[in-house]
Symmetry: C2
């Protein structure tokens, strides 16, 4: 029997249709397994090709060589030369494409993978996220700083070299505004952060838990849209990712790498996206929102029903996915 499930933090419904349930192997694609080399002459992110990128805005070095770099995106969808102003265009509203787009080159090695690189390197990635997040947030014309990763071609990655991205924009995503509106309503009703409630529930029932660390928990959401979807949430309440402490950073690197490794091993290196959700700068340290990271494996294709209704049909039970991820 399939069932509808509601996302308690957004009000969105999904259909969990276990009649269609697949085993992990059913999701593993037939792929040409090409050996990725450790260095590529044509890759703009590889050492020796630094001139193909803009000047770095952040760099980590060891023995005189860089081990991580953050560079402005050459193919930026937004930039700070665009005017940060809104204007009427007939009936409609438009705004200059003001913002900043940056690429975090996570390692010099062309074939490194965040799921398997030394955990210290992942810590450097998280620290770069935090530093760039906080610096970009200081621009009063930036409404929100979005940090995300595209892994694999069906997740939108055009380059193999391990990297994540930042796009800071002058407008807040209405979806996040709605989510915050919904969270505030829950707070006004129950007097508690709905995400704190969720953490408590997941730690109590445990069936959707993937793993826990000192400062974080990772679980498959009750109303997962996608098979093997996961959330990593800090146990400590904070609305803003940029408040993460160095100690929490190390722990976050550990749990993020651990669950990505589980995902890669269980599903034979599936394409995935992850993104960090944090309040827009207009909101500050509100009590009703809770920053988190969402991981969405790209195993199924959204079709007309999902585009039209935004109700997703998930062929896998989140409880089953969590159990499989726990055990690997």
């Amino acid at each position: 029997m399939s069932e509808f499930r509601q996302n308690i933090s957004t009000g969105e419904w999904v259909i969990v249709a276990p009649e269609r349930t697949k085993r992990p192997a059913d999701y593993c694609r037939e792929r040409q397994k090409t050996q990725v080399p450790a260095h590529s002459e044509s890759c703009p992110f590889c050492p020796g090709n630094e001139h193909k990128c803009k000047e770095p805005v952040y760099e980590v070095k060891s023995d005189g060589k860089w081990t991580l770099r953050v560079v402005p995106n050459i193919f930026a969808a937004v930039n700070r030369q665009s005017p940060p102003v809104r204007a009427k265009d007939g009936l409609y509203l438009s705004a200059g494409g003001y913002g900043e787009a940056e690429v975090i080159i996570e390692a010099p090695s062309h074939n490194a993978d965040i799921a398997f690189m030394p955990v210290e390197q992942v810590q450097d990635v998280i620290r770069a996220y935090r530093c760039r997040f906080n610096e970009l947030s200081e621009d009063p014309n930036i409404a929100i700083v979005n940090i995300f990763k595209n892994y694999g071609p069906t997740a939108g990655a055009s380059l193999v070299h391990p990297h994540s991205q930042i796009i800071a924009t002058m407008v807040s995503p209405p979806h996040i505004t709605e989510q915050i509106f919904y969270a505030r309503r829950a707070f006004n009703t129950w007097g508690r952060c709905v995400y704190c409630d969720m953490i408590k529930e997941e730690l109590a029932v445990r069936k959707r838990l993937v793993m826990e660390s000192e400062h974080f928990i990772a679980f498959c959401p009750f109303a997962s849209k996608y098979p093997y979807e996961m959330r990593i949430m800090p146990r400590k309440h904070s609305a803003i990712f940029g408040t993460i402490t160095p100690e929490e950073e190390s722990d976050f690197a550990f749990i993020l790498q651990s669950v990505l490794r589980k995902l890669s091993l269980l599903l034979d290196y599936p394409d995935y996206n992850y993104y960090i959700r944090s309040v827009p700068n207009s909101d500050g340290l509100v009590q009703y929102y809770h920053w988190h990271l969402a991981i969405t494996p790209r195993l199924v294709q959204a079709a007309g029903f999902e585009l039209g209704t935004r109700i997703y049909i998930n062929p896998s039970l989140p409880e089953t996915c969590a159990a499989e991820l726990r055990e690997i």
Copy 2:
């Protein structure tokens, strides 16, 4: 220069990034052009294989043979055996998978294409949409009837045989509820349907118009999320698709087929989805919503930024797309 554009009917923003603009040919995929036969032994929708489907709930016949059939979906994500009740699941809310899933087999011919079949056949398709929409809407446990089409594998179609789908659900999609909330707020502010305003604006400025017919207009929305995205809207205000008259039905078939043909010829038969938006049954003939059909070609891949923010980066100017579609 890129710009943000706001969807006036939802408040959603998109980034139109014409630095990335592509010509139609850039979107045409390298494909193995396999000749699709007019009949396939293994296709459950082909004549002779009727036993592979459930009993039809609607049928059009000519000379004793069927020319269109609507059958319950064998792989239904929802069904009317599930209980139409909501229940608490710990902290969360779930509901029985109550609903109905049907497939409209648009023609007996395995290789027919809605963009190129005789227009009378498309009229039969639209009439089937209307009849099934109205019949399913009579079930008091159905909140909304969703009609959509998946064309091609990247649009989620698993079968080649020309077909569309209906999924009627016991819950209303929160996205549509939000859209209606937004439209009502605009109505309360301006005293007019925001979609009627949009039709008036598009007919006045004409630069995003693709074509117009007696009862409908087709245009590329100002805040298009996708390249070559289109809307077909009835000139006459109505919140409910099921109110379409036989005369409007013929005209709707004509304009739908015309724009799908333009899309197919301009972009070499791209995969696409279309879906009909109409108010949930709880709302009735409200003055602030306006039913319409949306066409979303699947030419670009949503990545982490889109999943995280739901702000889409559109590499094509809607005005350029409309001009190209007009001219073909």
